[in-house]
């Protein structure tokens, strides 16, 4: 069952919120000009942020998550021999908030796990931080028994006895290691693969090079990443807010969302053998990518967003092109989606496959469409609407079954909603112009968040006392999707591997490495 939730954020006046906000500088929460309200950008002076000791920081973070705050980013920066500076960005009903702490190398940092598990694993891997507390709960332990391991050496090659790799075997696909008995997946391990730390390179490059570099970072979603980068840079430089510019960027973002969802639907249709639906989704995917190319020169939206404004303004010809193309697209997609989501064989194949309960989704820290398919209404366009989405609200859809069918249904509805949103407000994008930006404010922290096709994309920038970039963290939602896929596969059939992977918009041909 699907129900659009209100796009208006809930207001909360509970004391926990107020006590938390007291920890934060009064200059820390920056709202968009206008009536104020939750904005997807936070700029704070570093000197105004209290730096809590590691234990107190984790205790406060734990209290906030228990009280309902959602952690968007939990990041560390190595600070010579004095330890690691911890920064957490949280979404509360009042907007973005930030906490700072310091972990020391000689003392273990308490762990919170749960929704923060993915962040903490990254902190452990990246900075070698010791996290105290119970080890992460291995969901495999209760169902893995020695029989599952009997034959796995045979999977490497037949021995002299001609032992076969069944009924128990080990299957490696991408970063997943599946322990199977027959075709049943008994346990799943998510392997940490080597990553490239390109974010360290970002701080060494001139500011003008960064947009092009950001657009080619890991994961799909160049427009979303470039927008988050531009928001943060404009926040640090004190750039003015321009609604036409925001609508221009929003049009690119929604086109990118439509394209990513269409590609995912096509791959899902092909994985279940529904070739007719796959071909039509692929055709529509090309239509949307080509429209994005006519707007900015790139099928992936490179160059659509630049700090300070836009580079290719939308004029009358482009406006007419967008309207005509999307009007045709809307009719074609309605038929195509009805064919796919209304077909009994498709529903039977997807229903109940790779289901994740709402509570598990919360504990795993799922984001984006997979989270909304489990009943978690997490969407930054609703939680942190800013000026743009407050004027042009966008419905957020949730499903409650958490299976592949729910994930496919969410994507189909989001495509329709995105096209309707573009058609409703694209006229306001006309007239967006670039503006010159001043230098970055020294010793400031900026956190910008944009809801991409696969979830929130969060960029965290910090400047030093000369106004140069000291730290850059570009967080991709893919880091939350892989644990979700592992949980969805556990206990299911090995034949559902491709279907589940495509329902999370993850490619198993890929080994899970990004450019990081």
């Amino acid at each position: 069952m699907t129900a659009p939730t209100s796009s208006r954020p809930r207001r909360s006046e509970d004391p926990a919120v107020r006590s938390f906000l007291r920890l934060v500088s009064p200059r820390s929460v920056t709202a968009a000009p206008g009536e104020g309200g939750p904005a997807p950008l936070l700029v704070a002076a570093v000197d105004d942020l209290p730096e809590l000791p590691g234990d107190a920081f984790v205790a406060a973070l734990s209290r906030e998550t228990s009280a309902g705050a959602r952690v968007l980013a939990y990041h560390g920066r190595r600070d010579d021999d004095r330890g690691v500076v911890l920064t957490a960005a949280l979404v509360r009903s009042r907007g973005l908030a930030v906490m700072r702490g310091r972990a020391r190398h000689d003392r273990p940092l308490p762990s919170v796990r749960g929704p923060l598990g993915a962040h903490e694993r990254l902190l452990e891997r990246t900075y070698g931080l010791q996290l105290a507390g119970p080890p992460p709960r291995r969901l495999d332990d209760d169902i893995l028994d020695p029989r599952d391991m009997w034959f796995w050496p045979a999977a490497k090659g037949p021995t002299a006895q001609g032992r076969r790799a069944e009924p128990g075997q080990l299957v490696d696909r991408g970063p997943l290691r599946l322990y199977c008995r027959g075709d049943r997946v008994r346990a799943v391990e998510l392997r940490a693969l080597p990553e490239r730390d390109v974010e360290a390179v970002l701080c060494t490059r001139p500011l003008g090079h960064l947009p092009a570099l950001i657009e080619t970072l890991r994961g799909e979603g160049s427009v979303a990443r470039a927008w988050a980068h531009a928001l943060a840079i404009e926040g640090l430089a004190g750039g003015p807010f321009d609604l036409a510019c925001a609508v221009h960027r929003g049009v690119g973002l929604e086109l990118e969302r439509v394209a990513c969802h269409l590609a995912g639907q096509a791959r899902l249709a092909r994985a279940i053998g529904f070739g007719v639906g796959a071909a039509e989704h692929e055709r529509l995917h090309a239509v949307v990518r080509d429209l994005l190319m006519r707007l900015c020169g790139s099928r992936h939206g490179h160059g659509h967003v630049r700090p300070g404004g836009v580079r290719e303004p939308i004029g009358a010809a482009r406006l007419a092109d967008v309207r005509a193309t999307l009007a045709d697209f809307r009719d074609a997609f309605a038929g195509c989606s009805a064919d796919m989501m209304g077909l009994r064989s498709v529903l039977d194949r997807l229903d109940g496959v790779g289901a994740i309960a709402r509570r598990d989704a919360h504990d795993l820290g799922l984001v984006g469409p997979p989270a909304r398919a489990c009943g978690l209404p997490h969407d930054l366009r609703r939680d942190l609407p800013g000026e743009l989405y407050r004027r042009h609200a966008l419905d957020v859809f949730v499903e409650y079954d958490g299976d592949c069918l729910a994930r496919a249904s969410i994507r189909a509805r989001e495509i329709e909603a995105a096209v309707a949103w573009i058609l409703a407000c694209v006229a306001e994008a006309v007239g967006a112009r670039p503006t010159a930006l001043a230098g970055l404010a020294p010793r400031h922290l900026a956190i910008a968040a944009v809801e991409g096709a696969r979830g929130p994309i969060v960029h965290l920038l910090e400047t030093d006392r000369d106004g140069r970039l000291l730290d850059y963290r570009a967080q991709d939602p893919g880091m939350f999707a892989w644990p979700g896929l592992a949980a969805a596969l556990r206990g299911g059939s090995l034949t559902d591997l491709q279907v589940c992977g495509h329902s999370f918009d993850l490619s198993l041909a890929h080994d899970g490495r990004g450019a990081r």
Partner: protein, 250 residues
């Protein structure tokens, strides 16, 4: 399924002939004006995030193998000597052919290889070597085989296993020794004769995120690609056209 079959006929192919297709709006082949640049001007060079531009005596030369097509150089040029046209046919059979400038306005057309045509002209199975990166190349290469661009009509298909492939398509940054090792293993698993294609700015030129001179890339020193497909990411038609030119397909 019967409902679908009984329903209205699906839309006709959007690209009935990809060889004749054009890409209006694409930021494709750079157009460098004939007029010479002022002697002291080098405004475009520091604007390039990929170090793809070099100053010649009278103008600039642009290495398409490194270019990420961000067009920051066009915005930085005070004389407006650099623009990007919609031409998508950018593939080259040689690395040197990717450098455009006053002497060469566009990469030379890919010459058909008779031996490759005889062997792979009717059926060519390709495997993609994924080395990370932004996934843009992966998305566009997959699109080459989908129902829209449909390179399968020339018998060219993607396969999952190197052992069943005739050629290797490399994309993503080749930076570490482990990448070279992975490429060597994959290359060795393909029985000869075989085809090697380098795709995208990361695989051809090291990518915009490289720290300096390439530390690895020994694989490409040992095995020269037969086809270079530049772009960031390359348009699907760039890949399809370059490959068909190499195979001598009509």
């Amino acid at each position: 399924m019967l409902t679908v079959l009984r329903g209205p006929r699906p839309a006709p192919r959007a690209l009935p002939d990809p060889r004749a297709a054009v890409t209006p709006g694409l930021a494709g082949l750079p157009v460098l004006k004939d007029s010479s640049c002022p002697t002291a001007c080098s405004a475009c060079l520091p604007a390039c995030p990929a170090q793809a531009l070099a100053r010649t005596s009278t103008a600039v030369a642009l290495d398409l193998g490194r270019c990420v097509f961000c067009r920051d150089c066009a915005a930085a040029c005070p004389e407006k000597h650099i623009t990007f046209g919609p031409e998508h046919r950018l593939a080259s059979a040689t690395r040197r052919g990717l450098v455009v400038g006053p002497e060469r306005r566009a990469p030379p057309p890919v010459a058909a290889d008779a031996a490759l045509r005889r062997r792979f002209g009717r059926s060519l199975k390709l495997v993609r070597a994924v080395l990370g990166g932004c996934d843009g190349c992966d998305c566009e290469l997959r699109a080459c085989g989908d129902g829209h661009f449909d390179m399968g009509r020339w018998g060219i298909e993607w396969v999952d296993e190197a052992r069943g492939a005739d050629g290797l398509v490399v994309f993503g940054p080749v930076e570490a020794e482990a990448d070279d090792e992975q490429l060597r293993r994959t290359w060795a698993a393909i029985g000869g004769p075989r085809l090697l294609i380098a795709t995208g700015a990361c695989a051809i030129g090291g990518g915009p995120h490289r720290l300096g001179p390439a530390r690895a890339r020994g694989f490409f020193a040992e095995n020269a690609p037969q086809l270079y497909v530049p772009g960031c990411p390359p348009h699907p038609l760039t890949f399809v056209d370059g490959l068909l030119d190499l195979l001598g397909a009509p």
